[in-house]
Symmetry: D2
Subunit: 357 residues, 4 copies
């Protein structure tokens, strides 16, 4: 399996940070309690709660993003409630109906796909705004027939979004205020959280998030772990028994300590933030190079995913040397592609990529 | 985290076979396609299909047992169908209602817990019989009201069972014949499959299983992998799109190649079978020692789980030195405990354990 | 469609009490608000709450038994909870998995089918006991693995049971006390409630029921209405929005006032109780006649359903003249059949039946 | 409950056609088999199949619209499939998430609410077009990630739509062709079917519908029955056991013959069509009157629902004398209201209404 082309297709193409593999080896024959009841999970949770300044919080470790979204949303909603999300949200489009499989509607807000024409890319695509959320929820309760409709029971946002964009602290704070106003919990999907936190254009800290949302997760799959996401309820879950809910979704790993150990490693000596920063620096380098070479940025993304417009001829050429993420056809002659850096991208990789571009 | 007591509490207390950790390190910076579409998954699937002599089969890699049971059963059943299982089956008792969460009833057969009094331990506990299955399904179709009842749409068995017992080839063959007679697919939960296949008292091969059942899984979590189960449909799935079903259950790992790589390693150079054999040899040694010391075997288990009866006083003493699995109270003065060996148990571990016993 | 045989096959073979048809005609062209928000529903609810002495209660009108069981149980349970019921309960066997379709397990208690051999018929068949319920729930919480199991979140009983048997006030009170002890709501399926309340061998009043259970329903389908069941939460529902739950189950009738009007009629001038009493008197007459003719009573049922054992030859003869309910084969030569009286059975019907018997 | 204001608020404010009440009385003490297995259901089904010219069809009788939509869609879809519908479709907005409760996503197409600005009212609002359906399904299969998305497994349309608009025969035929092209069944919600069929501006017959769709229902609740919808699969259901699916949804009425009898009556002597025609004639009269009085028609609806724009002052005046359906606020000073005629509306009612308008 040699001679692979260099790949910028996504941020989940590599294994784990070497320190994680080392610790897996070091602890391999310790005999550890199952189902997340072990000391590594406790240690990782403690470190995360300390960083988030939420000593009363609950932390759970799950295996992947869709599983986490499905399980968390099911913990938040009553049977007759749905979750409000952007039309472009991962739960809205790319989870094969996992939320509906759990019995809940995804209530879409946003300008219904018009974003491409009317929003400034790099600013708002993939996001929801506090004002449209407020209008939506207020409109729901104003509707005389609302008891025949799906109640907005939670709000889902992703940060960074699926388009690499970010909320500002002010925007998050406004959305949080609308959620509090209506008593609707706010859930932040942080599959790429590290890349958002370390973006030079972000004013949002992990403490801000812990303060402003009711539950969020810290992505490991895309940021240095073999797999895994750390779910944080900064002020505790509201349900008496989260474990059977997790189990019922097939999301309770027998050897849960593997997740605990990975997150314990990531949250030791600032590792999670340092490797996230690497991805951002490589993305900044890449964006600069792209601009210098005259590429059109589809979105001015401040995070690790860069989206560019290429001619179809250029694309054929690139196919020979690199792997990228197909995003969408822009028009007959042009295609939008995604180039993603990650926690392990090296300067040499960017240099090599720039040569082909 | 030193000075841990030696543990025989379960077979999922250790990490992975060292060869797996090595290969994870070796491949860590290869950039591999996601969602199980990679070459390691293909290679592992090919090796499994070769060993099972089912070239037309489909193989999927999932993360854990409950997730696998839930997803596979949902693939097999129509909405108005349930799955037939022993009352003691994992899906019947220990999955927090994961099958019902997917909308399906678990239809229990068996003498309703009476097994303890009337069946010979070591022979049949935890199993279903072809004759009671036949009576159950025939009785269902004979019932004039059966369209108001839950249709038996699949049959679930575990091998080894949760009690460590095994089906004979004849028993499996008879159950398979009943399933064929009624057109009901047969699903075998092989969370501990290796330990069943290598038992000296078993006449069942993995090829037999591939021939006799419609879908089964080869447990990795309890047999040498960090985590993971390989689902085998020896004659292919019957549904057009298994991937969205897996995704919808939150069971599609982004870095699916990790699972592929682990099973590829386990199915190279007979590793899966060799390490399973180790657990059996250690269990045999343990049983012999237990008998010599006069312990009452609760079940004469032919696999890696041994169940013994100890006085409550003895139990307190054991608590100081070893960790075991509490199974159930036998009577006021006695308790049943489980001692499990695994792929990594050493002779020294048994010797040390015997000293305390 | 003339020349029908007289039928005792069930208690849902006739339309509605004539007074109901009259009122439907009288109100046919009134224009009434939809979805149960009308004055007839309010009037019926008020009458029921007065009779039940539960002024703070909530009353809903649904169309049928399975729909009611499914909707009410879904209102009571959290996602990780199941409902405890007798193995013979309607929700356990004859609702095509409607509870599991809603995501919940039916947790069966009882001696697993042994009832036929060990219980005295007419006393306990079809019932659960406070002591076995207590053992079951206590055993659940005692189990170290209970977070991997389905939590008992509600208890379902039927009164009369599917076998026509009844709880005594003492038995109901004991079950209620166990439910309170564990904080588990108690739900009573009263599809044939009238026939239970008017049984001469019952000491249970509708006020007793309203006091002892958390929710119950008053069956209309089998007791004088065209269709419909009145669900009573004597101390109110605990959920903020019952209407969307009902709607979501497809159980919110557009012309809900039809249900309101029917129950308003049944609860005017004691009609529900009077017509229920008729069924009991006819059943008593029937039972006496059966005894006089030397028939073996399969169960000594105190309500409107009578179960007798007949030889297969006799059965063939009966087939020519009457319709009955097949219940089960007793042995090679004998069959158990059900003969049900109802709100409209006349003495002449019994006389005619006795002639054929 | 005298002195009610005349109501045009909806088409489900009255009971049933008197002939139906008569037949309920006539048959009240016949003893009829339960669960839709009776001769009245058979007779009604035969009449409907004859009119639809689909002798091989299957016909089921359910109680209401949401129940029918939920049950039918669940019959059509595989677990990983969703149903395509207009954003304005009843299943999209006004069924409290009944489809999602069954595990399926409603996939919305249409110009996302823009209809109000860009479509000609009376023509297309509430409808989907063959071309956008084709684009949507083609786009789905073109998407490289479509196995991570919800498959379009059925198409839902309403005719008349929730806005009273109608498909032409050509439009229906084109949509049907797209469905056939992709192998996706087409389901037509005919809650108000009669009013669509009898519209003077429609070229669609019930035979056309039976030919062009895979399943549809003939609304009874809004067209002359006490309640009930007749589901027609013109070429049969594709599932082996529809009854348990219906039962599982709580939608199998014990006294199913009541539904059979009502539809048997409606489909005797052209009654269904005649009373539907009455509603249309009354609506035409109403529209003419509205136009004469200078009211602005919000939509030029060809069926029984008329939508007009009134000033808020006028509305207050109307409140004193009539009941109407609030539709939506148009702007600060104006409101859109719905005036619905039905099978029993009389010319005097229109005259009286016109006086107040």
């Amino acid at each position: 399996m040699m001679d692979r082309k260099i790949s910028f297709s996504s941020d989940y193409t590599k294994g784990a940070h070497p320190r994680i593999l080392e610790r897996l080896s070091e602890t391999n024959f310790e005999q550890i309690d199952g189902y997340g009841t072990d000391e590594y999970c406790k240690s990782a949770a403690d470190k995360i709660k300390e960083i988030c300044e939420c000593p009363e919080g609950d932390v759970f470790f799950l295996a992947g993003g869709t599983q986490t979204n499905q399980t968390v949303i099911d913990m938040l909603l009553k049977p007759y409630e749905g979750v409000v999300a952007a039309k472009t949200g991962h739960i809205s489009v790319h989870e094969a109906g996992a939320i509906e499989f759990s019995g809940h509607k995804v209530l879409n807000i946003g300008n219904c796909g018009e974003e491409k024409d009317t929003l400034k890319y790099g600013d708002n695509i993939g996001k929801i705004s506090a004002s449209e959320l407020d209008r939506f929820v207020a409109g729901f309760y104003d509707d005389a027939n609302h008891e025949h409709m799906v109640f907005p029971g939670a709000v889902y946002i992703s940060h960074p979004t699926e388009y690499g964009t970010l909320y500002t602290r002010k925007e998050l704070s406004d959305i949080s205020a609308v959620c509090k106003k209506y008593g609707v919990p706010l859930f932040l999907d942080g599959a790429r959280l590290g890349y958002g936190l370390m973006s030079k254009r972000s004013d949002v800290t992990i403490r801000d998030i812990a303060e402003l949302v009711d539950v969020f997760y810290i992505g490991g799959t895309k940021v240095g772990a073999l797999f895994g996401e750390a779910v944080v309820f900064p002020r505790g879950t509201r349900i008496a028994h989260p474990v059977p809910v997790i189990k019922q979704h097939g999301a309770l790993l027998a050897k849960g300590w593997i997740l605990g150990l990975m997150f314990d490693t990531l949250f030791t000596d600032n590792l999670y933030f340092d490797i996230s920063k690497n991805a951002i620096e490589m993305a900044d380098l890449l964006r600069e190079g792209l601009r210098n070479k005259g590429y059109e940025l589809f979105i001015d993304s401040p995070t690790n995913q860069q989206f560019i417009v290429v001619t179809n001829e250029k694309l054929k050429e690139l196919d020979k040397n690199i792997r990228y993420g197909f995003w969408e056809k822009k028009d007959e002659g042009h295609t939008v592609i995604r180039l993603a850096t990650d926690w392990a991208t090296k300067k040499e990789d960017i240099d090599r990529l720039m040569k082909y571009l």
